[in-house]
Amino acid sequence: MKIMVAIKRVVDYAVKIRVKPDKTGVETTNVKMSMNPFCEIALEEALRIRESGRASEVVAVSMGPQQCVDTLRTGLAMGADRGIHVETKEMLYPLSVAKLLRALVEVEKPQILILGKQAIDDDCNQTGQMLAGLLNWPQGTFASKVVLDKEKQEVTVDREVDGGLETLCLDLPAIITTDLRLNQPRYATLPNIMKAKSKVIKKYTPQELNVEIKSDLQIVQVTEPPKRKSGVMVSSVDELIDKLKNEARVI
């Protein structure tokens, strides 16, 4: 059984985001880029399934400019068997990514596709769902537990929903998107980094996959959230109530 994992190169989780002066987007030049944390979790889950003997191969996929290869190398150093890089300089939106992934699914024919529930840069939380729609596959989103039954060709997914956990049973092939508590990703060890150097990264272009990159969205403006005003001390309960009523208008 083959598992495909989508990984995205994003501005590092720990970096303080800065908006470009012309308000067209977020500053990414000279900023530390890393793998999206949810994608890391997705990859870790795929590796654990493979290590338990229920899958034979893990393929990591990334899309975007040349530097995405670095992110793929990280994925390979964590343990993925091979990589696929769809190279494009165009801005990619969830629908384009989903279409590209559908094209790759037709080439690779994986049984399970694992994605992060969202990327920490655009916070879209759409790709997995769109892809499920395009492929007409069942989807288990926000997974906090994944149990694969190879015999029955089904996977049981615990989802974190409002007010508790929902357990779904999906027939394979299926799509899973991962939430934060699914697992704790491993580090890239030196022996694995060494092995990763000889692993193959196959390149595609959107044209080769017959996908046209276009967006139905237009970014009007990107701005920083308004600065929080400093707090004030109130002298009495009455003043507090007055402020809550008339200034904050919350009661």
Binding site: D12, Y13, A14, V15, K16, N30, V31, K32, S34, M35, P37, D70, T74, A77, M78, Q184, Y187, A188, T189, L190, P191, I193, M194
Partner: protein
């Protein structure tokens, strides 16, 4: 000297008993946090009255009683105790010290308070018990003074006026910054007036060299958490805007410049204190000591004279370079009120590897090779032994072993900082893989993102915290020849046997060992085995008994292990020249027998 663990003194102030109550109240709070302190508190809570005869009646006629009684053993001290008071305070970090208040110093009276309020305003003359309790106790909870006055000057002029007045009244003072010192240098010993520099936290200016864009000078007022406001010429941001402080080396980050200093206490330390103690830290191997990075400073002498040495030049050979006297003098020569610091440009590419080595020789060889092969990008080379690792994994929450499942004998952190991410990473990877093949490295992980780097640093920086949680700890900060460094840890382990946990970690790149002895409770017999052995051993191997912590109170009398008699005498002369009454941070840095 074996069994004495209290201080003998002539004067115990009434307020001390009040603090004593405070201290035993806080017992429960700390005992849950630091089990090792339980014993300490119960011991110090014995009734005080028996030790409280009239202070003045029993003053000996000699002018310098310190010289007479320092170094006396328990019998003489207890014979003497009919005439003395014990300050309920133990000096856990070092061998027992019998010490008494210098009777030359006056005590605070109502007129003094009025005068201080005149200088500083009502609000900045603090007599609040809670505040004073915190200011009297050091970070390790080892040293505790009994000061009942804390002053918060906001300008150099105010510092000058305070000192001028204190000097005229012969009131002893202790300058205090973030109070994160480890040798008892920042807390009062007796009733010294605490001068807290925390209010002086403005950036005066921030210059960058327009042509080369490599130099940046930041004169900083002494206190503060080195919090910066935006200036017009270069953008400076608050440190806590960076989620991971350790990667932004230092007490502050700017978008394009960094502080050439990074240490475990970076969240609470202050630049004045850093300079006064010549703090070292994690990036020493890259940026060197503060003697090189401090371009100038302003200091206030004991008599109130303001010495303006606030240059921003890298080269200045006019006469004696006096600022170096104040760097590392631990507030004993003057109070640093402004600092100008060279800030190197911030480099975007930081890589961190966490490695395991099978023995100390491998660590040592790895350092040699790293200096050779990674020289231009190497920014930190730290090590810890398996015992330190064990402590961190057992006592700190959320820390996981990056190299499971087995434990290795030694762990090394190598950090590189450069300007080209892919080049630097490739270079480091190639280096690591090569020495893994050779066998110097037995296993390792490379941080793939800042969060991972943070968790690796957390292990190294968490060792002191884990030690605190493990119970009682005796800490030694030693500079030693690198090849001999770990021998001391092993010898100490043999010497103390299984009763004590001896851990070694530190800045291998600088030849700086942190030798820590962890016990369930403070134990004088163990201390007797450790000291003076550790100092003698260090001295024998021509090391320094204080690499970066300073001497403070803990090692003031141990200076001769590292400095010749002639040097110490010259230091004493300088101290007497700059501070004839000895009011600045008394009982510390230099042996009291020579200074009083």
């Amino acid at each position: 000297m074996k069994t004495k663990n209290y201080i003998t003194t002539y004067c115990l102030f009434k307020c001390s008993s009040r603090y004593l109550v405070h201290r035993s109240n806080s017992n429960s709070q700390y005992s849950s946090q630091f089990p090792g302190f339980r014993c300490q508190f119960s011991r110090t809570s014995r009734p005080l009255e028996t030790f409280l005869p009239d202070p003045k009646r029993n003053l000996p006629s000699v002018v310098h009683p310190l010289r007479e009684y320092i170094g006396r053993d328990l019998t003489s001290a207890s014979n003497f105790s009919g005439h003395t008071h014990r300050i309920p305070c133990r000096f856990f970090g070092s061998a027992p010290i019998v010490m008494q208040r210098n009777p030359m110093f006056s005590t605070i009276n109502a007129d003094d308070i009025t005068k201080f309020k005149e200088i500083l305003g009502e609000k900045n003359v603090v007599q609040d018990e809670e505040v004073l309790l915190a200011a009297n106790t050091d970070w390790m909870q080892k040293y505790k003074g009994s000061s009942n006055l804390l002053l918060q000057p906001r300008t150099t002029e105010e510092v000058s006026q305070i000192l001028k007045y204190c000097n005229s009244r012969c009131l002893a003072v202790v300058p205090q910054g973030g109070n994160t010192g480890l040798v008892g240098g920042s807390v009062p010993v007796f009733d010294e007036v605490i001068i807290n520099m925390g209010s002086m936290k403005n950036i005066i200016s921030f210059d960058k060299d327009e042509t080369s864009k490599v130099k940046a000078f930041v004169p900083i007022q002494s206190g503060g958490r080195v919090i910066f406001r935006k200036t017009t010429r270069a953008k400076v941001i608050f440190r806590n805007e960076a989620t991971v402080p350790s990667l932004d080396f230092g007490c502050f980050v700017s978008i394009r410049f960094v502080m050439p200093l990074d240490l475990g206490a970076k969240g609470s330390c202050q630049i004045g204190g850093n300079v006064s103690t010549n703090a070292g830290g994690l990036r020493f191997v890259r940026y060197g000591s503060l003697h090189g990075n401090v371009l100038g400073l302003e200091a206030v002498l004991a008599n109130g004279t303001v010495l303006d040495m606030l240059g921003t030049l890298r080269k200045d050979n006019t006469g004696y370079d006096l600022k170096h006297l104040f760097i590392g003098s631990e507030g004993s020569l003057g109070i640093i009120s402004k600092v100008s610091i060279l800030t190197p440009p911030k480099l975007s590419s930081v890589n961190l590897a966490f490695l395991a080595c099978k023995d100390y020789v491998s660590c040592q060889n790895l350092l040699l090779e790293a200096k050779r092969k990674l020289g231009n990008i190497l920014s930190a080379f730290e090590f810890l032994d398996s015992h330190s690792m064990d402590l961190v994994l057992n006592h700190l929450e959320g820390v996981r072993n990056p190299l499971p499942p087995s434990m290795h004998n030694f762990y090394v952190l190598i950090e590189t900082t450069g300007s080209d991410q892919s080049y630097d990473k490739e270079k480091l990877e190639a280096f690591l893989l090569r020495y893994m093949e050779v066998g110097l490295i037995s296993d390792g992980v490379l941080a793939q993102d800042i969060n991972q780097a943070f968790s690796f640093w957390r292990i190294r920086e968490g060792v002191p915290e884990a030690l605190m949680k493990a119970g009682a700890v005796y800490k030694y900060d030693l500079s030693l020849p690198i090849e001999k460094m770990y021998d001391l840890v092993e010898e100490m382990r043999m010497r103390l046997g299984p009763a004590a946990k001896v851990v070694g970690y530190g800045h291998l790149g600088d030849g700086n060992l942190h030798l820590n002895i962890s016990l369930p409770e403070y134990d004088d017999t163990v201390l007797g085995q450790v000291e003076p052995f550790v100092y003698e051993w260090t001295s024998k191997h021509r090391g320094s008994i204080s690499a970066e912590h300073g001497l403070g109170l803990m090692k003031a009398n141990k200076i001769h292990y590292s400095k010749s008699t002639e040097s110490v005498h010259l230091m004493v002369s300088i101290k007497k020249l700059l501070d004839p009454n000895g009011i600045l941070n008394p009982y510390k840095v230099l042996p009291s027998s020579l200074t009083s």
